[in-house]
Symmetry: C2
Subunit: 304 residues, 2 copies
């Protein structure tokens, strides 16, 4: 009896992965079909489109592609929380309001990072992430990720892809949750980077955030940073706005088969409906035949 | 009989790795002892110095630390070979000689990269590397690596370290051989990066080397680039000159146990003896107690 039970359990362990359906939250539409077919072809050694494992690079934008970006980017929400820990700065004073108007939200908030070490910043993000909630769905940031995209990341990892984030948000901000939410380790996060102040002391060297300037990872810098980082073109690239155009075009220009995904925010009921800042990327999607992914039509559910 | 033979083979397969000695080309000196002890402690989960695998980052300079840098950096030798493929440039003309004198070897040679795509450059390096030989030992570049350092890289990889190169040489140049010579994949190479020209076409986007400007990965940029790339401080850092100082200090400043290695070129017979551009790094090595590695006294052999 024991042996039969063991055999049954073993069989279950072996068969179970085959039973679990890839991209289960995706509807049965051409988008899902095309993604699954592409992944199948580039990972099948007998296919003419086969790509060896070390060259299987997949790169995704973060905000609006992997997770909710409305009404506020997660990174900005975090900076607001940093500002709130500084009672010495009267944020509602006339001076603060004028400065904020002049510099814009982002550069005004950046000052609150000033003097933080890289590690301190990562720890502050990891600490904040559990508490922060969005105002509409009341979900903590850890739940902002789109379930269909999490399934795609898992599928790609299982098929030998190295999956990277390439985002305009801060690199160490993203590192605060990329591992726990996406399963993406710190070294596979490409984002904006602070200008660093170097502080030498008896204990060695610390890197401190300057709090004023930043190297923004958007547009052409996404393409440049991906290539500098990996020495490769993405086999799969996914984005949702004009800032992702060059990253998608870098992938498009590869001599091998590639797949580009453009996430469309067209679901006002379950997420949001907006097309801001997407004209160029939509035009290129049409001419190159990139895969549009409609939240409304292609996703069975949006969040977990 | 067959079963006994099988058992004997199995036993050999199991026991063999234990018989092979770590750092076999190192002499039995305090340097070897300290390195082995450190690696043992940070990878032993019962040790107070234990560091979990995802945080085991090791970073090494390339030229003069992992491989021969005299009489000419490998990267410069490669650029010379690129120049030689351009018969339209009369390198011995008076104009060329004046320009070379004014700009210096490196910036003069850089012009020959101009317009090359990242992939083309990597392929050119991989193609060149087999032919190029150094003038003294007549070894191809693939043999320039120091055998004791190759053994150290293998030991660290076997103990769960992510091993990176961080070098002033060009990133895509290093990628041309980092995999085959060091077992270090393209995404773990941190080096100088070109300024890229973007070329949009009907087939997508290409990145072309500008051939004039370059972001040099030396001094403070080594520390900054390591942290931007990995979000971590190195557990082990190795270098040989002042350009490696900040990288070593970044490692030094970690709250965990760390190890810094400084390779000393003091073996005129088997390699070279020189101390150029090492004053700051030697001074810091003395005050922080970094491990000096003498080629002459600590290495049983230098090359394979």
């Amino acid at each position: 009896m024991k042996i039969i039970a063991l055999l049954a359990i073993s069989l279950l362990v072996i068969v179970q992965p085959c039973l679990s359906q890839d991209l289960a939250s995706w509807k049965e539409t051409p988008a899902k079909e095309r993604i699954l077919k592409f992944v199948e072809e580039v990972t099948d050694s007998s296919s003419s489109k086969f790509v060896p494992e070390p060259d299987r690079l997949a790169v995704f934008d973060n905000d609006g592609t992997l997770m909710l970006e409305r009404p506020q980017y997660a990174h900005l929400a975090f900076l607001e929380s940093l500002a709130a820990t500084r009672p010495d700065v009267r944020r509602d004073s006339l001076l603060s309001r004028i400065q904020r108007y002049v510099y814009g939200d982002f550069y005004w908030l950046l000052q609150f990072e000033r003097g933080m070490k890289g590690e301190e910043y990562q720890a502050a993000v990891a600490n904040w992430i559990g508490d922060a909630v969005d105002p509409r769905f009341h979900m903590p940031v850890t739940k902002w990720a789109y379930e269909p995209m999490l399934e795609l990341l898992r599928l790609l990892a299982a098929r030998g892809f190295a999956v990277y984030i390439c985002s305009g948000s801060d690199t160490d901000f993203l590192r605060g949750f990329s591992g726990s939410v996406y399963g993406i380790p710190a070294e596979r996060v490409i984002g904006s980077t602070p200008v660093w102040d170097l502080r030498y002391s008896d204990s060695g060297l610390d890197l401190l955030r300057d709090g004023r300037k930043v190297n923004i990872d958007l547009n052409e810098y996404k393409a440049i940073n991906i290539f500098n980082r990996t020495g490769k073109r993405p086999l799969i690239a996914g984005g949702n706005a004009n800032g992702d155009l060059q990253m998608l075009l870098l992938s498009q220009g590869s001599p091998s088969a590639t797949l580009q995904l453009l996430i469309a925010h067209d679901d006002a009921d379950r997420e949001y409906a907006y097309q801001d800042d997407t004209d160029q990327v939509r035009q290129n999607a049409a001419s190159f035949g990139w895969q549009l992914v409609s939240m409304k039509d292609d996703w069975g559910k949006v969040f977990q």
